[in-house]
């Protein structure tokens, strides 16, 4: 049922999601939106791994997805803690404030 969609389509969808994530990280200024864009990049990878795993009839791709999800959850926990610390020090989550360290 899944395989009625050609593999190429999954590849392009994942590449598009990944690119949106990358552009979001590069162009958005709000730290929380940047976090969401990083999650989007990781989910593009998850989608791609699941699609490949189905087409190759090999389960290891799906196991890798679990690894990514677990690690991404831990990473968000650390990231949000850093964000709270940043908010305490600057009263803002706009990354333009972070310009003390330059050149």
């Amino acid at each position: 049922m899944v395989k009625t969609v050609p593999l190429d389509y999954y590849l392009w969808l994942a590449a598009a999601l990944f690119t949106i994530g990358v552009l979001g990280v590069l162009y958005r200024r709000n730290a929380i939106i940047i976090f969401m864009c990083i999650e989007l990049m990781l989910n593009a990878v998850n989608l791609l791994l699941v699609a490949f795993s189905t087409y190759l009839n090999d389960a290891s791709g799906q196991v890798f997805v679990f690894f990514i999800m677990a690690v991404a959850a831990a990473e968000v926990a650390v990231g949000l803690a850093i964000l709270v610390m940043m908010y305490r020090n600057t009263k803002s989550v706009d990354i333009n404030i972070l310009n003390r360290l330059k050149w």
């Binding site: 590849l11 994942a14 990944f18 994530g21 990358v22 990280v25 730290a31 940047i34 990083i38 990049m41 990781l42 593009a44 990878v45 791609l48 791994l49 699609a51 490949f52 087409y55 190759l56 090999d58 290891s60 791709g61 196991v63 890798f64 690894f67 990514i68 690690v71 831990a74 990473e75 650390v78 990231g79 803690a81 850093i82 964000l83 610390m85 940043m86 020090n89 600057t90 990354i95 972070l98 003390r100 360290l101 330059k102 050149w103």
Partner: protein
Amino acid sequence: MNALFVITGLGIVSLLAEFGNLKRWLTAFVLVGLTAAVILAALDWNTTQRYFSDMLVFDNQALAFTALISISTILWFWLSVDYFATQTHRTDRTSLVIFAVVGSVIMASFNNMAMLFLGIEILSMSLYVLAGSRKDSLSSTEAAFKYFLMGSFATGFLLFGIALIYGATGSFHIHTIAQTIAANPAGLPTFFYAGVLLMLIGLAFKISAVPFHFWAPDVYSGSPTTVTAFMSTVVKVAAIGAFIRIFSSCFVAVESTWSLVLQVIMILTLVIPNITAVYQNNVKRMLAYSSVGHVGYILLAFVSSPTETGTIFYYLTTYSVSSLAAFSVLHLVEGNSEEITVDYFNGLFKKNSWLAVTITIALLSLAGIPPLAGFFGKYMVFAQAINHGYTSLVIVAVITSLIGVYYYFRIIIAMYFNESSAPSITLTASQKMLLFVLIALTFALGLFPDVIMTLFRA
């Protein structure tokens, strides 16, 4: 592998040491554990053991990196005693450092992309917290945030590359991937090569090669100095270990895909940080740029002959020892101030000749002046590159290392020829001992390079 078990156990014990009155013995316990890890790695020499259905393989290269990482961490604990002299965060900090070491060892011994990913994440996640461990300081917060952002951004690229390679070869195992490449001489799907390049970008972020280095100076100068010392030695060794492990075994067969890209990255990594470092007045930032520049020499050795890892390992050893010496002096001179400029070193020779001599030797070694360790590191890299016909790249590298001499000498001149009214720094016996050990190592590695080079001659 036994070394990895011991280090992981140490991390868990460090967390539990919060109970009771075990905290007092923690640092001593950790040092004993890390020494045991070095000995266990040495005992496993020449055995090549495989674990968890080939996900981790402890061959000689992995064991050598494990030993180097553990020894650097022992020296690092010695130089950063005051970092652990807090009542509330002692166990947290110790366990985070130990878990970072666990990640580093996994990065040096993985044989499966899942382990590479987990190793990088275990290492990075501990470091994001350590970078921000000075919670009330804005620059420490900024460093933690930038490190976190760039680290997870790079992981995204790495993972996308891994996914594409999995799609083309049907496996995460490095040896299976290498076999698949060899079995398809006509070429794999196009996205396989895209995957290799994406992995190259992801790992270039981790080893901070230009143009993916822009986070490094900010993070290095914003973090507490001891954490910076850890990042620029242990973490750099681990990242380069992971990089050469995958690119020298699995992707050598598709060298034409990444060789040219890596050469461009290498030239940029040699030129840009060395020139930028000249304009730095903040010494920590200058050392950050110099540490990015040293990646260029390692990449030169790698580009000229991907399978000869002995030269790279020797270079990393000399670089780690010299960096630890430089950072330990920097940490002592810095005191409680957040930003340390070249002026802090004015007249240091008259006040604290011991400190001045140590950092002079460390900087001369980093600049590559004979007979110190750094000179032989650079010499072997250049010799290897010339042997494989990369003379023009060597000329670029020699010019950039001359620029390096210039900015290292700015600090040295300030120490010997400038005057200062600042009071001298009192050193404890342990600190003097540490400086002496680091100087001795810098000389010993330079005089007896064969001790390390023979490890890699099968």
